[in-house]
Each structure stands twice: as structure tokens, then as C-alpha cells.
Symmetry: C3
Subunit: 293 residues, 3 copies
């Protein structure tokens, strides 16, 4: 991808994002090796991206995709939670990723997530904050697994999931901390649709350009009215964020995180099957035979 | 269809509706040639129909269908928006189609939409205001395409869609202004179910009679409790109606409408593929090659 | 099933429930012959079960299943409605099954319904109050049929259904009083998923143990935040309960119930096809030929 020269505004440069402009559509590829963890560099880049594109009417639609075929956004870097919050505060003064994502949902920009690979934890919350999301049937994997560590999703996951899929499916997704493939994610309403991987690029690109050709006034009024009904209030996002932060300070969270680290948490290969790993962290399991079966 | 003699109340005559009574079920066929646009005659007839049937306990269930196999209700006649509002005001004093439709949702009457052909714009809003809706898998096509002209749906479409399918799918449907077939409409929750066209008549007829045999007291209390949870407040319907009207007065709306008229907007043949037409209205497209591909 | 000795707390004995403990998971089998009607004995046992298991941290997850392959919970015993309410009042002082079920939804315990056979009326409301629910594709049958008797579901059914499946599908389910198989129940969001019967035991057991291995603090905060969004307020549950009770005192309800009793209502064999029976109660049907077709 080449970095575009935006007319009269200078080029967009980011450490963790590759951007390519086509008309009023900006394609944004997330590239934070080795596995697209959400750390301070990616948060800073997202803040800058939002500020620069919102301020320039040349942009109408942002399409988010990943440079890593296995990981879209893997999850938060658990060693950088505080730094992430400080970096997020640059956008609105609100030190929470949840508020950063809520800003994106409220933006005049239309955001589309094109999902290949794993999208878990704050990765799931990122795509849930986008306006529209399509996933590759063969490769996309979804998880909202914070409860495996004894905490709630920190950036709005619970708020979005329950509104999209209802109480029972949202509870299942969060309490099970399981991986969900794209077809099941579609049936549950987590994503708009699962599509064959080889059609995804063309489908999303065409849709993005189609939307970009329609009047910006329509985008704005539609989003405003939809958000008034379906977007969680700021205080609920803040409350979830506080509860998450509180939970991460518990001994139980620390112990589970350390146990996970010993099994390769936050490494590419071990997280290919994260659902199995987090199901195995409790050494005092009362029924080891059963869950190993 | 014959016009029934309602016991002691005189026959029901309408300009744009063919009605047939079977017990407590009234089958109402929309017939406003050449393509079932919503204009003042159809609005006047809907107002009369609602008033007459609500006032007569002989009626429990209304089934709406279309006399035109290609168009259920195509959309509003954009040249008659003011007249439509004035005609709608005869029902409650509220000059908006959205309030007319909300009245139908609140009615003691049970309404079932049996959908064949295209149902777009206010047509979609009409079926969304019905209590229950089934569509022919082979022929039904759904569109909520107002954003292609820079405006919000004017009669409650945004309110219904976001509550039925969640934020992301509702945004996709409205921002894309695309056509959706019956199977996808079912997956998104736009309709109750898509059924084979050759079973639809029997299925809907049987259901209507089944419901009509149950006590009216049950109908009333179930609708009252469901509406208390799921029906948009009157002020939100009014607000959407005002925003729509405001939008239609913009230069951009006028230009897009004129461009559409040149391409056959509001004619049968051109609207067979309306989604493509509205995707093509912007002559200044930044990526003509892409969307023509 | 054997009755477990709970460490230091004595065994759990119930008249209508068989329980089996595996680690922090309690499997609870409903066994109220001849057809698992909800009567005072089952209500008393549910109250005791909830009190005993909530008070003992050894329990994290309850799995509800049925000892009867044809009936999970058939529906309320209509001859014992008052007694049921009195028995339910033992839990919170609130004399309604709806409040008993709401207590379960608010509990720190995670509840999973494993559904085989028929689950209608208050049976449907019971599984809707559970946190998560899976059903056997081959045998599970769902019905929320109170409107056939002119009343609203009395224990929260309307509240849950409309939030899970939206206005039109919830109205269809209640107004039609029809039976729904597991696949359609999944498509409508009534249950999390329909699964092959021969995999259900293993799937639900594994999930229950998996959740039980995760920290209780996570269960609690996730349920608390989800319930804040998706659980009906107590006053709405009470209101539905009052409207139901009022309705059951009408002459129409009494007549329909007597007509149903003559056709075998509340007997195993006749209720195998309850949907057909309740569709036939109105002797004055205006279109007998049609619904017999």
C-alpha cells in the first residue's frame, strides 16, 4: 500500500497503519507486528487517523482490514493497559478505549470492518464500534473472552453484544470465552454477514464506494438517528471501563494472566487456539477428565 | 375480488384497495396502478380502511397483499409528499405517514403483510408497521434507499430496522440503499419468514383465520405489552418525519431526484432494478470504473 | 441420578427434581410426572433449589434438563395458579412466577437449559429466564400459546420474546399460539442454538464445566451488566403477571379452558399436538372448513 497525498493536507503517515485512498474512501490496513495486539502505538495511530480524517471532507468512508492474515486485532496488550488509556485520552480527554471507540461510532465517517483472521477482546470491540462489518467465512474467528480472566469486556463489548444478539447469546459468548467462526457469528448477529474470502475485497470495496457516492448529509442523519436508539450511553461505556480496570487489579486476574503467559499468551502460535488455552488455566479444575475429553 | 357487504354497515368501497371478507379476516389487496406508488388516493383509502375496520368488531385481522406481482408498494410518490401528509392528517390530526403507520401498529386489529414484489422506501415502512410479515422467497425485494438521496426514511423505517436487526445491519441497509432479497431479509429480521411463493397464500390465510378465532381480549393485551417495549415513541416518529421533510427541501435532494427522474425513476421498468439506478446518480463519482464493474 | 452429599451442607432432596453434582456444576433433572406441569410441588422445589444453591459457593452453574423425553415443562397447571403464586412468594415475598424467574435471571448462578421435548407457556418462560439455552433439534418444541385463551403470558414471556426476536416475530409467536421446532426457534432467537440430540449432553456438560472453571467474579459482573440492559424491569414483570391473573378470571378464559379440558388439555397424549387443539376451541368458527383443511 502507498501512503496517499491528501490534496492540500499532506500525506498520512502512521507507524501501525497502512493507508490507501481511492476517492472518498480510505482503506486502512492494521499492521502492528508480530500479531496486531492493541498497544499504545496502535492507539495513538487510531487517534490521529480519526482526527485527520474527520477534519477533512475528502474522506467519507473508512475501510479497516488487517495486514496479518491470522490476526485482525488479537486483543489488548495486557502489559500496556494504562498506557493505552493515556494514549486514548488524547482524542476526547476520556482515558478509555471504550470512549475512543464510541467516538468512532458517533463520527460522521462511515466505518466498515473487513475481517480476516482472529478478532478477540478489544479487537471484537473495535469491529463492534464500526458501522458495518463483513468477515471471511474461512478465516475469521471471534472471541469476547475476558470472563476467562474474571473481568468484563472493558471497551463496550457487553453493551454491543447484548443489543445485537440478545441476553442469552451475549451471556454465552462472554461466559464461555469460546471462539466463534464467521458463520456462527453471522447467525448470532455479531457481524453483518460472512462471505467467501475470495469475494470479500471486491464486495467491501464496491459497497464503500457506493456509500461514498451518496450525500454526506444522508450519512450524518441516518447515523445520528440510529445511534440515538442503539448506541450505549457514554456513562455505560465508562462504567464498563472502570469495572474492567478494577477487575484487572484483582489477584485472580493477575494469577490467571501469569498462568496464561506461561502457556504462550500474547504469542502468535499459542493464540491460534486461544479458546482452548484459556479453558485450561485453572489448575484446580474439579473435572479435569471431562474438559480434556 | 368482490366487495363485501358488511353486516349492517354497508359495503367497503375504495379507489386503490380491493377487499374481500372471510369471517373476521379482511383481505386487502393494494391496487394503485401503474406501480403502487404511495400517493394521496392510497393514503386516503388507508385512512378510511383503518377507521371503518377499527370501528367494527366484525373485523379482527387484516391481510395486506398486492394486486401487482412486481410491486407491493414501490415507494412514496415524490411529487406528492405534501398531499400525502395532508391526507394522513385525516386520521389523527398528525400530518405524517409515520404517525398513520404508528396508528396501525397500535390498533386493536392484527395486521399481516403478505409480500410479493418490490417493497421499498415507505413500502418497507408500511410492512414494518404491520404486526407480522411473510414474503415470497422468489419475488419479494426490499429496499430502504432514502440515503441515496441524502435523507432519512420519513415514516419510521430507521426506528423499526434498528430495533429488529441491530445497529450494524440497519446502517448497512439504509446507507447502502441496496435491494435485499427475501432470504437475506429473513436473516436480517426485516420479515418474519421467507416462504415459497406457491405456499404463501395458504400459509397466511390459515394463520389469519387461526388468529381470528382467538379472543380479541388476548390480541389487545399482547399488542399493548409488546408495543410498550418495541414500538418507537411518537416523538421519534415525528422527529424522523420532520428530518425527512427538511431533507427533501435541500438542493442536493432536488438534484438527485431530477437525475433519477431522467433515468426513469417512478416508472415500472426502470425501477425493476432501482438499486443500480440510485447507485449511479452521482455524475462526479470518484471511481466510476469500480462501480460499473 | 444420585442425590449428592454437598460438603458440610447435607444432601439435596426434592420431590420433583433429581440432582447430580459434578464439581461446581449441578445437573438438575425436572421430574414431575405425568408430564412436568408446573404445579406447587415443582414451584416449592425450585424455590428451595435456588435458595440452597445460591447460599453455597460450591455451586457455580446449574444445568436444567428433563426426565421426560416428551415434556421439559409442559406449562402451568391451570387448576393450581393461586397455589403456585403462594409457593413462589416464599422466595422474595413476591407472589408471582415471573418474579421467581426474574430472581433466577439475576442470580450469581449461571443457568443453562438443555431442552428436549415440549416447552410451552410457563415452560418457555422458564427457559427464557435461564442465562443460556440449547435444544435438541429432533425433539424440542416451543410454544407461547396463552393468547389462544385470551390472556398474555404471565411470567415474563412477552418481555423476553420481544427483546430477543423483535416486535413482529414475538407477535407472531404469541398471537399464533403455534408450535415451533428447534430450528425455527434458533432462527427466531428463542434459543441460543439447536443441536443434534445425540451431541447435546456432551456439549452442554462441557460448556457448564468450562464456565465453572472461570472466576465467579467474572460471572457476576458480566451478568450484572447484561441484565442492566436486557432484563425487563420488575414492574413490567409484575404488570404482566397481574394482567394474566385478571385475564384468567374472565368468562372467556374459563370457557376456553373447559373446552380444552374436554379435548384432553393437561394430558400427555392430547398435548403432543397442543397447537392443533388450541386452534380448534372456538365452536363458532367462521371458517371451519379452512382451518380443518
Amino acid at each position: 500500500m502507498t501512503t496517499p497525498e491528501v490534496s492540500g493536507k499532506g500525506p498520512l503517515f502512521f507507524e501501525t497503519l497502512n493507508v490507501r485512498q481511492e476517492g472518498a474512501v480510505l482503506f486502512v490496513e492494521i499492521s502492528a507486528p508480530p500479531m496486531n495486539l492493541l498497544g499504545p502505538a496502535l492507539v495513538r495511530d487510531l487517534v490521529s487517523l480519526i482526527q485527520l480524517t474527520e477534519a477533512n471532507d475528502a474522506y467519507q468512508v473508512l475501510v479497516f482490514k488487517s495486514a496479518d492474515p491470522d490476526y485482525f486485532i488479537s486483543h489488548v496488550d495486557v502489559t500496556r493497559i494504562r498506557e493505552n488509556r493515556d494514549a486514548a485520552a488524547k482524542l476526547n480527554g476520556d482515558a478509555s478505549i471504550g470512549q475512543l471507540l464510541r467516538h468512532l461510532s458517533l463520527s460522521r465517517l462511515i466505518t466498515i470492518a473487513q475481517i480476516e483472521g482472529r478478532v478477540r477482546g478489544v479487537g471484537s470491540e473495535f469491529i463492534l464500534a464500526c458501522d458495518i462489518r463483513f468477515a471471511a467465512r474461512e478465516s475469521a474467528i471471534f472471541g469476547q473472552f475476558e470472563a476467562a480472566f474474571g473481568v468484563i469486556p472493558g471497551a463496550g463489548g457487553a453493551q454491543h453484544l447484548v443489543r445485537l444478539m440478545g441476553r442469552a447469546r451475549a451471556l454465552e459468548v462472554m461466559l464461555s470465552a469460546e471462539d466463534y467462526d464467521a458463520d456462527l457469528a453471522e447467525r448470532y448477529g455479531w457481524i453483518n454477514r460472512a462471505l467467501p474470502a475470495n469475494t470479500l475485497d471486491h464486495f467491501v470495496g464496491s459497497l464503500a464506494h457506493r456509500i461514498a457516492r451518496f450525500p454526506a448529509a444522508g450519512h450524518a442523519v441516518v447515523k445520528q438517528r440510529v445511534n440515538a436508539i442503539a448506541l450505549a450511553p457514554a456513562e455505560d461505556i465508562r462504567r464498563d471501563s472502570d469495572l474492567f480496570l478494577e477487575g484487572t487489579q484483582s489477584a485472580e486476574f493477575q494469577e490467571r494472566t501469569q498462568a496464561a503467559m506461561k502457556r504462550g499468551f500474547q504469542t502468535r502460535s499459542a493464540e491460534m487456539n486461544l479458546a482452548r488455552m484459556v479453558g485450561d488455566l485453572d489448575k484446580h479444575s474439579t473435572n479435569q477428565a471431562d474438559h480434556d475429553a
